[in-house]
Symmetry: D2
Subunit: 344 residues, 4 copies
Amino acid sequence: MIRFNCDYAEGAHESILKLMMETNMEQTPGYGEDHYSEQAREMIRELCKSPEAEVQFLVGGTQTNLTVISAALRPHQCVIAADSGHINVHETGAIEACGHKVFAIPTKNGKLTAKQIWDTWEDHAVNESYEHMVQPKMVYISNPTEIGTIYSRQELEEISKTCRECGMYLFMDGARLGYALTSQENDLDLEMIAQCCDVFYIGGTKVGALFGEAVVITNDTLKEDFRYIMKQKGAMLAKGRVLGIQFIGLLKNDLYFQLGDHANRMAMKLKKAFQDAGCEFLVDSPTNQQFPILSDEVLKKLGENYSYSYQKRIDEGHSAVRFCTSWATREEDVDQLIEDLKNI
Amino acid sequence: MIRFNCDYAEGAHESILKLMMETNMEQTPGYGEDHYSEQAREMIRELCKSPEAEVQFLVGGTQTNLTVISAALRPHQCVIAADSGHINVHETGAIEACGHKVFAIPTKNGKLTAKQIWDTWEDHAVNESYEHMVQPKMVYISNPTEIGTIYSRQELEEISKTCRECGMYLFMDGARLGYALTSQENDLDLEMIAQCCDVFYIGGTKVGALFGEAVVITNDTLKEDFRYIMKQKGAMLAKGRVLGIQFIGLLKNDLYFQLGDHANRMAMKLKKAFQDAGCEFLVDSPTNQQFPILSDEVLKKLGENYSYSYQKRIDEGHSAVRFCTSWATREEDVDQLIEDLKNI
Amino acid sequence: MIRFNCDYAEGAHESILKLMMETNMEQTPGYGEDHYSEQAREMIRELCKSPEAEVQFLVGGTQTNLTVISAALRPHQCVIAADSGHINVHETGAIEACGHKVFAIPTKNGKLTAKQIWDTWEDHAVNESYEHMVQPKMVYISNPTEIGTIYSRQELEEISKTCRECGMYLFMDGARLGYALTSQENDLDLEMIAQCCDVFYIGGTKVGALFGEAVVITNDTLKEDFRYIMKQKGAMLAKGRVLGIQFIGLLKNDLYFQLGDHANRMAMKLKKAFQDAGCEFLVDSPTNQQFPILSDEVLKKLGENYSYSYQKRIDEGHSAVRFCTSWATREEDVDQLIEDLKNI
Amino acid sequence: MIRFNCDYAEGAHESILKLMMETNMEQTPGYGEDHYSEQAREMIRELCKSPEAEVQFLVGGTQTNLTVISAALRPHQCVIAADSGHINVHETGAIEACGHKVFAIPTKNGKLTAKQIWDTWEDHAVNESYEHMVQPKMVYISNPTEIGTIYSRQELEEISKTCRECGMYLFMDGARLGYALTSQENDLDLEMIAQCCDVFYIGGTKVGALFGEAVVITNDTLKEDFRYIMKQKGAMLAKGRVLGIQFIGLLKNDLYFQLGDHANRMAMKLKKAFQDAGCEFLVDSPTNQQFPILSDEVLKKLGENYSYSYQKRIDEGHSAVRFCTSWATREEDVDQLIEDLKNI
């Protein structure tokens, strides 16, 4: 059984484990106050061309989302998200458990538009009985989205402009950011993201690390006491250096981007194979997650040797499923899958 | 200016104030442990034919909703509601502030169906990655709904059956229950409601009291320590007898139902007048809230002498608005409005 | 049975009920946006000589405490209180349910000192591992305290100065403020309190109203979106005018202070009688709550005709109990109690 | 600079890193549903002789504490802890942020007694105004405590008995459990702990793992939906196998106990050296944390080559500090410290 069901089936890139081995018995301060974490922070600030940014390392995506949002909002404020957004559907109410409504907006391709954001804000801020409604104060987007689509530079700039006009923070979930930034259709880079967003993160868990998300905060208001909130949410790793070391490994020699590029190339091979086989897709994704629509029969056959994740019933007899590639995907496995697909 | 914008523009029915006057200097224990509250509880248990029900008096609707829901759910559980439900749109995130997601379902007429509830439950309970999603544990309905519609006996029984099959609590917001139970289209009564729901409330604030909601809990699990949660949420009135006394006044000699009936008759007069004038309605409401769709011009004219509340833009030139009658609406004011309407 | 167990055993001062009667059928906007509430606000601003203060009316003490504290603090921040403070012991964890630690400090007489506040702040702000501890951001005091003692002008000014040096808000719970300000030992007034505190409230429930607490916010930061938090906590009364009207009644012709003075006079009579009988007291209280230490035998005898509330076991055979007078206490009842005391 | 300031200054035991290396490229399901995690669970169930126990792996201590407590309590319930308990002082209000009061009880040696627990429960459950106070429902103890002391079998059994009589859960924080179970004074084992507690954890972070805490739940009520709460709190590691693998490494061939034993031996050497030097101690600790009271002068000297953590001012000129040994402490470093101590 070869796993294409997710992008976290393996451990970490070998070079990262090596770095952990080499530094293992060194004594350092805890809680991210060690020199490795500091070095990783500096590397990230340089990549983002944001010398003043605060960089903190957390363990996983849900944890990062709830920590950032809890740190940013007052009790009556809500965060706007696509209805397919991770915080809205796949975090067991983590944001609500911190006291905040996720105001979900329907989208076709997982992406919010500047107009949707503006309209939502206007609905809440202008209505006469506004005190009876939550107050939108943050916009959450993911790049790539949960269904693989990515934001263009123009889209992000428009969203950012709208947020600033409305006095709302812009927060980008970058759990798979490496796969967005190395997509052939991408025209964004870390510098632009740092300029457009008030806070975002560079995901490690799904792009070559054992675990770890690097939060980059550019808005001064959001920096204040952020580490208190981390600690309170159980998001401050005792041996913080393990996070710093992993990000050093990922960012040294552009490994992070090479890993992203590899996954995307594998995904494009798969995409082409599905297209050649006449498949429709749930959505046109330029990144490592592909959502072909397949017949029950084909799915059953493929399921004998490959795992995928189930997405959605499309019609009597067909479903959309997800095939993920990752930094660890072996090209021979992709080739074998393509070969098997041809034979079905 | 005559107010039709809401059903809480006046104080309380005169007989209630009198009762408060008469009992004013009597010394009683606090926090609802007085004999008036006990008497009111007994009256409600009899009306509901539920001798074992726990009855508690709270001050207002948002407070009651958040107290009941907070008492019922564990942290990972959510409450299902119509997307127009009061808890979803007009309580400033009160439920989320207690840690719980409101899982909102789109409806046309403000009412949930048994099928929608079943499908939602199935989506969350059967999906393979269920632990990553909130767990539905309570269904919130309002009767009448926020747009005036009411549940039939059959609808309520089907919903109740579905909830019990799924292991979910059924909670009815009865902020305007008096207007539902006295609607010409109604075929429900308090006994049936007590049998179908695990918890519901009889609203006083909008039906003749100064304030006050009587919560009726029939499910034993929900009774446990309910008063602790009341106290914690600031929902236990020090001079609790003021609530007990008001409900005695409301329930004595069927006053509550007479007041509801009056408001509905006034609303039906208004409805007919709008119909006669060729108006469309946002929804066909058989209770005290009417939602005619009127032209900007007509609205402007009416607005000179009558207040209404704005609901929704329908098209270029027309909007739906809300006209409310209440226990206190004077028939001469309704007649005047109808007269003025004819002249426009 | 004559009740001395609390100061909320009766309804409201007659003049307040009259005012409610007279205005009962007038139509007004809801949620405290009516002209009565506005008039009451203006009266309070004048009494406090704080023309810029925001004044909001809430229903009860626990509700007010949780609303103010929830509005003021970020998630990692705590409120400092005396360990006997109402929020620490008698609100069923209301503050914690809003996410915040009550940092309780032991006191002998229910009052915090500026030094205790400073030391607590220093412990948290200077310690090397400060991010691992809550951050003190608000100080909660009650005046009178839960055991009847009051703050002097000098004490309050020192506390206020310390809070400002530490960047903490000062919040005074004034549930019984009328009894503090009319105590013979008092040297404070509303103007000084408004200057020293960032937020405080003038309690109505225990001083002549049916219910109601008038929150006065002088710190601009705390004003922001306060009404959103009120609504979210279920603390925005639909018929808000009922609160406004009551405070007009209380503040007109100094009624509030006359009622306070009456209760204190009755309490001093009682105090003297207990002193004359050779009683010790749990604490020397100059206000309407008196805490004599009595033998089991005396308590049993007194308990036949008078209710009091149990406070604390002192030794084998003796307990401290609480006798409360109030705006409604009848002098003949006090005289009778004194008489009976003499005969025991 | 040699670090004795904490027991998490190094990475992980070499054998654990090796196991991670060897299994690195294997594909497994996520979220702890892999075969390594299952194998580790089985090893723990056997060690605890609790075949029905639910075992879940979390990342760190604060996270584990807040997840367990949030899963166990209803909103009005509190957890009882020693005032020096980690949840009370060093988790930035994590428990309160989940809505619950930590009811802190003063202790001399960091340990709660059965009597203290009973008395606290009685104060809350019997008092007439009990609904106005939080309801104790869980007792939190740590073993060893934050100041190194350990519970005897008899103490634990008495506490357990009391908790069961009062209907309260017993929860043991075992962040340093390895150091308790291998102390010379210890007479407990995992089986007894599993029998006495409703839930406890075996700490990895401080005893040889990179990170990881193994929660063992023996009470069926607490098992229900525990994984939902984990996910909600951001405590479900995507690559869960990394936790399973570490615990396999720790528990294979008794490594966990060997590491504990090593740290304790090193601590006893240090303790003896301080004793020989005539030192007093803050507390008599039989585990890896030692709290000698030293003069400012000695501290300054020692501080040139060794890091320790500051605990508490004792008097003018003396402070208690903490010296920690750990699984990774090198005997030559201890010997050097002892040597240097002699020379001061």
